[in-house]
Amino acid sequence: MTASGNPSSDELRLAPVQTHHVRKPLNHDSAVKHVSGTAAYIDDIPEPIGTLHLAPGWARDVVRGRIRSLDLEPVRKAPGVVAVLTANDIPGINDCSAALGDDPVLAETDILFYGQVIFLVIAETRDQARRAARLAQLVTDPLTPIITAEDAVAADITVLPDYQFRRGSPETGMTAAEHKLAGVFHIGGQEHFYLEGQIAMAIPQEDGGVFVHSSTQHPTEVQHTVAKVLGVPDAAVTTEIRRMGGGFGGKESQANQWAALAALAATRTGRTCKLRLDRDDDMIMTGKRHDFRVEWQAGYDGEGRIRAVDMHFLARCGYSADLSLGVNDRTMFHADSSYFYPDALIRSRRLRTDTCSNTAFRGFGGPQGMLSAERMIDAIAIHLGKDPLEIRKLNFYDESRNLTPYGMPVEEHEVLHDLTAQLEASSHYWERRKQVKEFNAVSPVLKKGLALTPVKFGISFTLKHLNQAGALVHLYTDGSVHLNHGGTEMGQGLYQKVAQVVADEFGVTLDKVRITATNTSKVPNTGPTAASSGTDLNAMAARNAAHAIKARLVEYLSEAYGCPTDLIGFHNNQVRIADRVIPLKQAAKEAHLARIQLSHAGFYATPKITWDRDSATGRPFYYFAYGASCAEVTVDIMTGEMTIDRVDLLHDVGHSINPAIDIGQIEGGFVQGMGWLTTEELVWDDAGRLRTHAPSTYKIPAAADIPADFRVNLYESKGNPQETIYRSKAVGEPPVMLANSVFCAITDAIASLNPGVVPDLNAPATPEAIMKAVQAIRAGKGGAE
């Protein structure tokens, strides 16, 4: 084995693997179970006798305040209540944060944000727990909350230190530039709206241990959090998750608290305890995509070529740090979108506000960085009276201008150019540009807009140690394979992709591979399933495990049958040993009788990553994933309503392991991004209470909102130049940013009202936001000067 866990080719000469499952558009492994209602989520697992139900208690009228008194007697006396717990009942450490120790599981002296949990109700039924949770008598001394980014800027309060990248001399570059533009741009946050809300069920075990079913993307962190809160060793806690009903980043750190509370209740009562949040509680209490105030400045020449940028990202992080370090770093890493900035200053402030703590959300800060770059490009194009696509291409990374502001070269810039050129042609961009102009010339109320935007997304966790994975594979003597790995299934098809890889490695049909739930006692010390890296990491670890077992088997068979190792091949549940063919189960049985180990824990660590945050040098990403999107919209300038008429997507997944699943990720990611930029608006009232905490008020896209004409294709890749699993590329997050084209197309439509003026459009582009920009542009006011 090499350092990264890859088997080196000269260890043993093995026949090449035949791909019978890899590259096939197979359905999701649970598709049949999904459609028949038999796929079990945590709330569907049969409850042990005596299971108790939990509800979080919180203050519905307090945003920020000091607790003066808390009377829980009415809660304790309510029907069905078994116990009520507060922070005093926590035997270990009252913290469920990912790293920094600033997320209380239960409030102690202060309420830090609207929705903070103060106590936990344990009752016989869920209904009883919910009712009782509303009966506490709480007196607080209210404090004036800091709600918006602007409030936090004024108060000068952050959760983490400022951070910046600087390249060249942005000050000189800006002064020397022929033209200069500056603007302020607001980007809204986003609620995950996973259909399955946060849930955990904890079953007490012997010797103070606990088994926790948790709907989490990060079982290891849940395990460690539970152990920390209970004051027991990590080894006393096991976390398991077979599948989530959606995650999108919202269950990366945000699942910890509910698992800790369930485990606390279970160990206190000695009974199984289940906590499933209400949809409203879930939306109020858990973190969301960060919203931003972006202050930008760009210097450029008469052609539109950027000379210098100064981009300042002011993020609302909420009351604690959570994952805001990585999220905001990723915003900075993607502030270039696909564009070369000769001189650049990219700054980030991580503002502390008295709101729920913002967290991971598909794209992890990247979308906000990239959208800001697109805004800048649009502004330059509009000012110069040029087509934004021309300005985009003019500023693309290329052979000579290939260094990102953080010093990593863009190695595949030719993919960016080629992919964009292909989409430009297949979407008939220029023909449609002409049609849009003609339409707008004769249509006084409805205005069309068109935009083609690129995606370049860095793949790898920027926190280096997370780029590792483990898998546990057993070959049984009946020829069936047990597959387990540290990645979690949230709908993205990870389990299926890994199973395809393992099935081909052993040359078995998929029905022989038993996919099993992610469990911290099988594969320990894992990272979260996040950063799009699930397949890259876990499929590699699983393949390494399978490969190791196979190598032992081959070695044994080679000796037993007197056959060179490279003449031993596996396919169709059989082993070919030179001219002989025997069933795999026979080979496995024989090897077992010969005392050959048929189980292996595989491991993989992503190579080449060298990022050093302190010096801001090195390579944060193993590679980039690319894509491009062309969107056409129509806007009603009397009401601000908008429809998306056509969208063409072209996306690079390298050599796809499963094209059906990859297309699903691309379409789904695009639509989720589209929702973020159009209808999904989070609204806090003046007091700092979230007003949009249910689907009745928070509007994710519905079926009719997707483009009427929706053309989605995989880019014909030459394969990932890096040695990823089957030369594929990660696909979870990058497609979210394909939706930037929709926002830019809306900008384009509004820009038609007053050529030369940059629409002051903020995200999300709700009808009201569009009307504001329309009114401003008609009054000659723009979003950049």
């Binding site: 598709a31 459609v35 028949s36 399955e196 709908g491 699903g664 379409e667 909102d705 009307m771 009114q775």
Partner: protein, 501 residues
């Protein structure tokens, strides 16, 4: 008198005693039956994960509607066939909609999937639908999916839902119809005692008597609003009277003068008649709630409890709708706008209930337009809703009825603008200005999570301008992003969904 509820599931009659007044269908499925295929996503009827199908006899034919089981009272399935996702797979063989969903990658995380499957099951059984993307997206507007982006689900629906039904439910339809007929009775249902009960009278007189005895009881028609009082506000409703079995209360009379709509007529069953009354109103109708909400929700119920989030009242007020109310002794009619007194306050006396409403049909001199503005096109509550009825003689407006929703605490007429429009010329936009200006003093809208006050006012003015532009002959296709029924509609589609019996 009956003290049980009875329904059909998987061919078997199930009879339940001890049904509580606020027991929901979803809790019954998941907690009592431990059938966990049906999921809870939001508990407020907005995401569709809990969708089940309800089979009823409609004019002698078996018809399936999707409903949100989270806000459906268990008692409301009395006399129907309940179909859940567990019932679709027979002998391990997937239903055609399930197969299409699985094969075309219609599921990713799978949590919303059973709800989609059940919505598609009802589409599969809907008669007279022609295959179109619009038919599908309208049908599944009440099912939210966060993973797939819908395209594969739409494809699965297009592939599987538009051929003649050929499944176990179609094969045993005759048998099912017989069983449903046997379940239909005209006995009053009363479960509980005088302090806590679930009642379902079968006649108007029975309702009047019961309600007079218990004026503190909660009247429930479709439970699309009351359901949330239970699941979200955790309100204890000890006495619930469900109106769904009252004979005659679900009548629709489509006359040359207008529509008489009984209080328990669902949005869905009124669709055909409403569409015939006005295509604009028909389009608005298709955007009220979702298929599930329209299958349960009633126009009468929406008006009766004065829900401030109703999208129909402004349109009905503009059309000059009158409301009929009665108690044990008296009945009276009043103009719909006079019923809404203030936010959450209606002109309904103790013991009095809404029996129906009458919507006059616009005459040849009248032009009706209505517009709904919301963040999301489907299944959203309007930020502004504007409805306009202009009486025009020789190009001159002689009378205007204008009503808005979202502009005040109740749906309200724009009296100032109405007056200012009299004698305005359709041909001459300069004569519209006074009305546009008058609107500013007709309303003082509020800001909330749906829109700001200034956007509401701006948009209200824009909608009046649009209505006048359209009335003066401007092509709606240049004025509307999605002109009402510009695409050829599925012939006869809404007619398959006539009032349930």
């Amino acid at each position: 008198m009956r003290d049980t509820i009875r329904f059909l599931k998987n061919g078997e009659v199930i009879e339940l005693a001890n049904v509580g007044p606020t027991d929901t269908l979803l809790d019954y499925l998941r907690l009592d039956r431990r059938e966990t295929g049906t999921k809870e996503g939001c508990g407020e009827g907005d995401c569709g994960a809990c969708t089940v199908a309800i089979g009823r006899l409609v004019e002698g034919r078996l018809s399936y509607s999707p409903v949100n089981s989270c806000i459906q009272l268990l008692a409301m399935i009395d006399g129907t066939e309940l179909v859940t996702v567990e019932d679709l797979t027979s002998d391990g063989k997937l239903h055609p909609v399930q197969r299409a969903m699985a094969e075309l990658n219609g599921s990713q995380c799978g949590f919303c999937t059973p709800g989609f499957v059940m919505s598609l099951f009802t589409l599969y059984h809907a008669e007279g639908m022609s295959r179109s993307r619009k038919a599908v997206t309208e049908w599944i507007a009440g099912n939210l999916c966060r993973c797939t982006g819908y395209r594969p689900i739409i494809d699965a629906a297009l592939e599987s839902c538009f051929d003649a039904a050929d499944d176990a439910f179609a094969w045993r339809a005759t048998e099912t119809r017989d069983k449903l007929r046997q379940l239909a009775d005209s006995r009053d249902i009363f479960i509980g005692d005088s302090s806590r009960f679930l009642a379902s009278p079968a006649s108007l007189d029975g309702l009047a008597a019961l309600y007079q005895q218990h004026p503190d009881a909660t009247l429930v028609a479709g439970a699309t609003d009351v359901g949330l009082w239970i699941t979200k506000h955790l309100r204890d409703l000890p006495k619930v009277i469900w109106l769904g079995r009252i004979e005659g209360m679900n009548r629709i009379e489509d006359t040359p003068a207008g529509l008489l709509i009984g209080a328990t007529v669902t949005y869905q069953s009124a669709e055909g008649a409403i569409q015939r009354l006005s295509p604009d109103l028909g389009e608005l109708w298709s955007r009220i709630g979702s298929k599930q909400v329209r299958a349960s929700g009633t126009i009468g119920g929406n008006i009766a409890n004065g829900s401030p989030i109703g999208d129909t009242p402004p349109a009905l007020i503009a059309l000059g709708t009158t409301l009929e109310l009665q108690d044990t002794v008296n009945s009276r009619a009043l103009a719909l706008e006079d019923y809404f007194l203030d936010y959450g306050k209606q002109d309904r006396r103790p013991g009095e209930f809404v029996t129906g409403l009458f919507v006059p049909r616009p005459d040849a001199n009248q032009i009706f337009r209505c517009y709904k503005i919301s963040k999301r096109f489907d299944q959203d509550i309007s930020s502004v809703m504007g409805a306009f009825l202009f009486t025009v003689i020789g190009g001159t407006i002689t009378e205007a009825r204008i009503a808005y929703g979202g502009m005040a605490a109740t749906p309200r007429r724009a009296k100032g603008a109405e007056t200012a429009l009299i004698n305005a010329q359709l041909e001459d936009p300069s004569t519209w200005g006074a009305a546009m200006k008058a609107l500013m003093s007709d309303y003082t809208p509020l800001s909330d999570m749906r829109a700001s006050a200034s956007y509401r006012m701006e948009t209200a003015r824009a909608l009046l301008a649009k209505a006048l532009m359209e009335a003066s002959g401007s092509d709606p296709s240049g004025l509307r992003l999605r002109p009402a029924f510009s695409a050829p509609e599925e012939p006869g589609a809404p007619d398959t969904l006539e009032a349930a019996e």
